[in-house]
């Protein structure tokens, strides 16, 4: 049993939430950890460290309503080259984003020029309303990076979208080439990270190059 306010549980929770953000996040949904209720750690010989977590989550666009989630995060022994395994179950429904997703999709598809933007948020924390979905998509993409690159000795957050370039495609997906700035809490470094994100209202977010 681990104290929820101590960092080992917090770091595992961040991995679980990152993974979930990647799976279920989008231009109309941003999931964050509202509370860590309970954490247990199991050391499995020859395999690694498994964390079992009870989390409370919140959609930043639907604040005031929390959703419960149980997660298992397995950090593999001795490796920083294998991503942790994450399994999770969300209890209950997340707010539907069908309409917002479709609206965003149509808006981007109908742009005359490919969208380009920098510094989201800006130095003062501002995000222009039309770029809010772009920021949330970046947050979902960062979830992938966080999941893939975390160890028990790291804790990543998305610090800023340094740059985003939309790239027109011949198929139905939207493509965004991002340069993200990730803040790693333990070393305190802010690290630039390039990736390409594909997104579609039904197919969700996929990182295809990073």
């Amino acid at each position: 049993e681990l104290p929820p306010n101590h960092f080992p549980a917090g770091r595992a929770a961040a991995v679980a939430v990152g993974y979930l953000r990647y799976l279920r996040g989008g231009p109309g949904r941003g999931l964050e950890l509202s509370a860590l209720r309970r954490a247990r750690r199991q050391d499995i010989d020859g395999v690694g460290h498994k964390y079992c977590l009870e989390l409370e989550l919140e959609d930043v666009l639907d604040k005031g309503r929390t959703v419960n989630c149980t997660a298992e995060v397995l950090y593999h022994l001795g490796s920083s080259s294998t991503a942790p395994d994450v399994q999770l179950t969300v209890q209950g429904e997340l707010r539907s984003t069908e309409e917002a997703d479709q609206e965003f999709y149509n808006r981007i598809r109908s742009l005359e020029k490919e969208l380009v933007a920098e510094n989201i948020p800006d130095s003062h924390g501002n995000i222009p309303p039309e770029l809010e979905p772009i920021h949330l998509l970046a947050w979902a993409a960062s979830g992938y990076v966080i999941w893939q690159n975390s160890t028990e000795n790291t804790k990543f957050h998305l610090a800023q979208v340094q740059q985003v370039k939309q790239v027109n495609r011949s198929d139905e997906d939207l493509q965004f080439d991002y340069v993200l700035l990730l803040h790693e809490m333990v070393s305190q470094e802010v690290i630039p990270w390039e990736l390409t994100l594909l997104w579609h209202p039904w197919r969700g977010a996929r990182v295809c190059r990073d």
């Binding site: 941003g30 950890l33 948020p121 924390g125 305190q188």
Partner: protein
């Protein structure tokens, strides 16, 4: 009937155009030499058609008589006074001019109040922050701006001293912000807090009794070089801007540079690292200036420092994972402070030692202060928990400052009592 209508109509127009102006009105000061002259003026006073407005009525020869004269009567009144040999001087040549000027002055002053007033809900440059420190020091007699040293790039390190008396040796509280320059909500909150304390002294019972017993020293920008750099070049800069011999990289993590487990785990010996501890303890002038100031003045009872982000309220130790001697009291006080913070907007802060809560980190400021006899040593990590991180929207500055202040106040009250 028509005639009557015209009369009523003109009367109504006249009434509606009742913008009394004082164009051409003059105010005279009349010096009477004897009773006879006083009687003459009293006669003048009785002539109602002249519509004279006596600001000082004629009563005795020794006293001056001030009178406002409508434009149309000015020449005839003067002619009368001269013919009687009564001395007078002109106090006001044209009253409307004076009234116009007064109106303008008031408008300008109101403008200054509105726009010259510091916006605590916005992020500011170093220059603007320093101006506001000057403003607070000039507005409140018990607030003084002192300089405790200079940064690497020779910027002054300004501290606001809150002191209502006591011969400079009252027990004191230290509060600093912005030691890590990218943590912008901390410098901004420090300014709101400074203004809050200054303006509430005398009206808020708790602040008043606090400052009546203790001095408070507030350093709102502990790392001015880094702060300027976040404005001009790199918003994500954390460290100082000192040149490191033998390296192309710049800057030392000022919160790994204190003499507490210096060079131990949780700090890097690589100059290019964001947690580089520096060539030696107190190598950074920004750190040394604070150390020297606190040691020289002495009698500090609390050392409080603001960081962001993560929403944590921590006490020593960071350099080792063992509990401090005062663990029970600090844990309990920390929880009480976190509870106060939560009472305002529901914002939750986790409480614990640095080592257990965030990571093992050596060379930190509150470890140094604690090991140097300052029992109430706490480090706050303010909003948020990662959604905006360092780039907290400006509209959250005041809520963050308000809730943080409740936590600080809880600790300060405990120290006072």
């Amino acid at each position: 009937a028509n005639m009557k209508l015209i009369l009523i109509f003109s009367a109504l127009i006249g009434a509606s155009l009742c913008l009394e102006t004082f164009v051409g009105h003059q105010v005279l000061r009349i010096k009477t030499k004897n009773e006879e002259e006083v009687k003459q003026l009293q006669l003048l006073e009785s002539l109602e058609h002249l519509e004279l407005d006596f600001w000082i009525n004629p009563s005795a020869p020794a006293l001056p008589v001030d009178v406002r004269i409508p434009a149309v009567s000015v020449q005839s009144v003067k002619a009368f006074l001269e013919s009687q040999g009564i001395e007078y001087s002109i106090l006001i040549e044209d009253l409307q001019d004076v009234l116009d000027k007064e109106k303008q002055d008031m408008a300008e002053s109101a403008q200054r109040q509105r726009s010259g007033s510091f916006d605590f809900g916005a992020y500011h440059t170093l220059d603007d922050i320093n101006s506001e420190l000057d403003h607070l020091a000039s507005e409140y007699s018990f607030v003084e701006k002192i300089q405790i040293g200079e940064s690497y790039e020779k910027r002054p390190l300004y501290v606001l001293k809150f002191s209502t008396g006591g011969f400079n040796r009252r027990p004191a509280i230290w509060l600093d912000a912005g030691i890590h320059s990218r943590e912008w909500v901390t410098q901004a909150s420090a300014l709101w807090i400074a203004n809050k304390i200054a303006s509430d002294y005398g009206t808020d019972a708790s602040i008043t009794s606090l400052l009546d017993k203790m001095d408070l020293f507030l350093l709102p920008v502990a790392n001015p070089d880094g702060f300027v750099y976040t404005h001009t070049s790199n918003r994500m800069w954390r460290k100082t801007r000192s040149k490191i011999p033998g390296s192309i990289c710049v800057g030392v993590d000022p919160n790994r540079n204190w003499d507490a487990g210096f060079g131990g785990p949780g700090a890097s010996n690589k100059p290019c690292s964001d947690s580089y501890h520096g060539p030696s303890a107190n190598s950074e002038v920004e750190v040394k200036s604070v150390v020297d100031f606190i040691k020289n003045r002495g009698n500090f009872k609390a050392f409080l420092t603001l960081h962001s982000y993560s929403q944590l309220l921590m006490y020593p130790y960071g350099y080792k994972c063992t509990r401090p001697d005062d663990y029970a009291e600090l844990e309990s006080l920390g929880r009480a402070a976190a509870s106060s913070i939560r009472s305002l907007y529901g914002t939750t802060f986790q409480v614990g030692t640095i080592c257990k809560t965030i990571y093992q980190a050596s060379g930190g400021s509150i470890d140094w202060s604690y090991d140097n006899g300052i029992k109430y040593s706490f480090a706050f990590e303010l909003r948020d928990t990662g959604r905006y991180g360092f780039l907290l929207p400006a509209n959250q500055i005041i809520p963050a400052a308000k809730e943080t202040w409740l936590g600080l106040k809880k600790i300060m009250e405990h120290v006072r009592d």
